[in-house]
C-alpha cells in the first residue's frame, strides 16, 4: 500500500464522477457504522479505562492518571512477558522467513515442477494456528511425540515442553513458524520471479557462480519483500499466535509462554483486572501504530528499486 499517504492529499479521485446528494453517504455508511461501533468506540473506551481504577465488585471507578501504567511497568510479570514476546517474535520471524526464502529459492531453480511444488507448499496457509499447535503438540509430546523421542535419544536432552518453560517456548515457536512458512514462500516466490533474467544472465557471462549471483543480485533485489515479510511476521507472532498459545500451553508452564496478547486476555477477560488490562491494550495499540508507521516510512523510502 505505498500510496497510503495520498489519502491526505485527497487527489485520488476519478476525473469523471457521479453527483448525488445522498447516495455516496449511503454507500459508505455500513463501513462507517461498523468501524465506529466496533473499532473506535471500544478503542476510546479502552483508553479511558486505562486511566481508571475500578474496585472488583461494584461499578465505582476513580480517575488515577498513570497509576495503571506505572504499576504495569514495575510488575516483573509484565516485564517478563515483554521479554518473552520479543524473543518469541524474533525467533518465529527468523525461522519462518529463512525457511520460506530457502525453499522458495530452491523451488525457483527447479524449473520443471514449479506448479506441483507450489501446490505442495501452499496449503499450510489455510491451517488455523491452533491446529498447527495441536499437531506439533503431538509431535513434541514428552511421552508420545516422535520428534520428542528423536530429540531425547540423539541429543540426550531431557525434553519436556509440558514441564519446562524453555521447551514449551521452542514448541510454540516451531508450531507458529511452521504455519507461516507457506505465506513467506508465496511472497518470496513472487519476488524471485520478478528478478530480471537479463541481470542473472549478464552476471553468469561475467563468471559469477550461482551462489554469488544469489548473494549479490537476487538477495538485494528481494530486500523490499524481506522487509515487508519481517513486519508481517512480527505482527503475526504478536497477535495471531493467540490460538496456538490458548490451545497448547495457556501461557504456561509458569508463565513461560505468556506473550503480551495472551496476558491482556488473561488479566482482563479471565482475571477481570480492568484497569491493568486496558493499560496493556493501550501499550499494544501504541506498538502496532508504531509498526504500521515504520512500515510505511520504510516501504516509501529505503528499500526500493526501479524496474
Amino acid at each position: 500500500m505505498p500510496d497510503v499517504f495520498l489519502i491526505y492529499g485527497s487527489t485520488m479521485i476519478k476525473r469523471s464522477f457521479f453527483t448525488s446528494r445522498y447516495l455516496p453517504y449511503l454507500l459508505i455508511l455500513p463501513q462507517i457504522v461498523i468501524t465506529l461501533t466496533f473499532f473506535y468506540w471500544p478503542a476510546v473506551k479502552g483508553i479511558i479505562q486505562s486511566f481508571l481504577l475500578s474496585d472488583p465488585f461494584g461499578r465505582r471507578s476513580t480517575f488515577v492518571w498513570f497509576y495503571n501504567y506505572a504499576e504495569l511497568f514495575t510488575d516483573p510479570l509484565y516485564l517478563k512477558s515483554i521479554f518473552i514476546t520479543i524473543v518469541f517474535s524474533i525467533a518465529v520471524a527468523s525461522v519462518s522467513i529463512s525457511l520460506g526464502l530457502f525453499i522458495a529459492s530452491m523451488a525457483n531453480r527447479a524449473l520443471r515442477a514449479k506448479a506441483v511444488v507450489r501446490t505442495l507448499l501452499i496449503w499450510p496457509y489455510a491451517v488455523a494456528p491452533a491446529i498447527s499447535g495441536i499437531m506439533w503438540l503431538f509431535l513434541l509430546h514428552p511421552s508420545y511425540g516422535i520428534v520428542a523421542l528423536g530429540v531425547k535419544k540423539w541429543l540426550g536432552v531431557n525434553w519436556n515442553p509440558v514441564m519446562y518453560g524453555n521447551d514449551a517456548m521452542i514448541m510454540i515457536v516451531i508450531a507458529s513458524a511452521w504455519k507461516q512458512i507457506s505465506y513467506n514462500f508465496v511472497f518470496f516466490m513472487a519476488g524471485l520471479q520478478a528478478v530480471p533474467k537479463s541481470l542473472i544472465e549478464a552476471a553468469a557471462i561475467d563468471g559469477a557462480s550461482p551462489f554469488k549471483r544469489f548473494w549479490f543480485i537476487t538477495f538485494p533485489l528481494l530486500s523490499p519483500t524481506f522487509f515487508f515479510l519481517t513486519v508481517m511476521n512480527i505482527i503475526y507472532s504478536f497477535f495471531e499466535t493467540f490460538g496456538i498459545i490458548h490451545t497448547v500451553t495457556q501461557g504456561g508452564p509458569g508463565g513461560s509462554t505468556n506473550i503480551l496478547v495472551y496476558k491482556v486476555y488473561q488479566d482482563g477477560f479471565v482475571g477481570l483486572n480492568l484497569g491493568s488490562s486496558a493499560a496493556q491494550s493501550v501499550v499494544l495499540m501504541t506498538l502496532i501504530i508504531l509498526i504500521t508507521f515504520l512500515q510505511f516510512k520504510f516501504v516509501e523510502k529505503k528499500v526500493q528499486y526501479g524496474g
Partner: protein, 306 residues
C-alpha cells in the same frame, strides 16, 4: 538455469524434497495417527504404517467433538464474514472513488486507521460492546440526563434501558469482523485503474450510479472478488480470539476452538487418534478452498498486502 550445474541441481531437488517433507510431515503424521487404534497410537514410537481405524476414529471424533454443529458454525461465520467484507468494502470503495463529497477523505482515513486496531488490542471494550450494542446510545442518553428530562416533562418516573446483545449469535460472530481496511484498499486501487471512459460512456447513456456499479464495475471486479473470497474465507474460518470471547454456549462454538476439548490431558486416555482425526477434519474446508482456488489466491494475496 543459465548454465548446467548437475551437482547443484541435485542438491536443489534434494533440499526441495526435504523442505516439502518438513512442511508436509505434521499433517501426514496426523493422518496416520487418525487411522490407528488407541493401543497403536500410544505405542512409542507410533508405527508409521496406516491402520484401518480411520472411519471408526472419524465417527468418534465427529460425535464427541460435536463437529457437525461446530463446523457448520465455522462455515456460517466464515461465509458471513467473506460476503459481508466484500459487499461492505466494495460499495464503500465505490463511494470513495466515484463520488466527490465533503467527508470523502475523512471517511477513507477512518477506515484506513482500523488497520491499527486489531481485535487483540481492544479485547474487553469490544466484548462489552457486543454484549450491548446500544451502549453508546445509552451513554449519550445518560450523559444528557434525558431520564430526568422525560420524568420532568411527563410527570412520571422514567428510566430508559437500552439493551441488544450479540453474544452467542451469528450476528455477533460476523458483524464486528466485517469492516476491512485492506479490502477497501484493494477495491479502491482497482477502481482507480478502471478507464475513465467507461464511466463517461455510462453517464452519456444515462446510466444511474448504481446501474454503472452493477453492470460495469461489478463484472470487471470478478477476479478480485474471487481472490478475496479465498483469503477472507480462510481468515474467517480460522478466527480464534473473537469467537472465544463472544460464544459461551457450546452450540455456538466454532470448530477451531472446540478442538481444544479433544486434546488428551495428563490424566486422560491418550486418545490422540481422535484428537488428530478431528483436527484433520476441521482444517479440511479452508485447505480445500485454497488448493482449488490457488491461482486467484496467490494473485490476491500478493496484491492485497502490497
Amino acid at each position: 538455469m543459465v548454465e548446467k550445474t548437475p551437482l547443484l541441481d541435485l542438491f536443489t531437488y534434494a533440499f526441495l524434497m526435504l523442505g516439502i517433507f518438513i512442511v508436509g510431515f505434521p499433517i501426514l503424521y496426523s493422518l496416520i495417527a487418525a487411522t490407528l487404534p488407541l493401543e497403536e497410537v500410544s505405542k512409542i514410537p507410533m508405527p508409521l504404517i496406516p491402520g484401518d481405524q480411520f472411519f471408526v476414529n472419524m465417527k468418534e471424533a465427529w460425535t464427541r467433538g460435536n463437529l457437525g454443529t461446530q463446523i457448520m458454525n465455522s462455515f456460517i461465520m466464515a461465509s458471513g464474514i467473506t460476503l459481508g467484507k466484500i459487499a461492505v468494502s466494495m460499495i464503500g470503495a465505490f463511494s470513495i472513488v466515484y463520488f466527490d463529497y465533503k467527508f470523502r477523505v475523512i471517511a477513507f482515513a477512518s477506515v484506513f486507521c482500523t488497520l491499527m486496531l486489531p481485535v487483540e488490542v481492544r479485547i474487553l471494550p469490544t466484548y462489552e460492546m457486543a454484549a450491548n450494542v446500544l451502549s453508546p446510545l445509552q451513554a449519550f442518553w445518560d450523559f444528557m440526563h434525558l431520564n430526568a428530562l422525560v420524568t420532568w416533562i411527563s410527570g412520571n418516573d422514567f428510566e430508559l434501558a437500552l439493551n441488544w446483545s450479540l453474544l452467542d449469535s451469528y450476528t455477533g460472530l460476523i458483524l464486528p469482523l466485517v469492516a476491512s481496511a485492506t479490502c477497501t484498499f484493494l477495491f479502491r486501487q482497482f477502481f482507480l485503474t478502471v478507464p475513465e471512459e467507461l464511466c463517461e460512456a455510462a453517464k452519456i447513456d444515462g446510466a444511474s450510479p448504481m446501474t454503472f456499479f452493477r453492470k460495469i464495475l461489478f463484472p470487471l471486479s470478478k477476479t478480485n472478488i474471487a481472490a478475496l473470497v479465498v483469503i477472507e474465507f480462510v481468515y474467517g474460518y480460522n478466527q480464534y480470539l473473537w469467537p472465544l470471547l463472544v460464544t459461551t454456549n457450546p452450540k455456538m462454538t466454532t470448530a477451531v476452538i472446540g478442538l481444544q476439548n479433544l486434546i488428551p490431558q495428563a490424566d486422560d486416555l491418550p486418545e490422540w487418534n481422535i484428537a488428530l482425526g478431528a483436527a484433520v477434519l476441521v482444517m479440511l474446508p479452508p485447505v480445500l478452498v485454497v488448493l482449488f482456488m490457488q491461482r486467484w489466491f496467490v494473485k490476491g494475496l500478493i496484491e492485497k498486502e502490497k
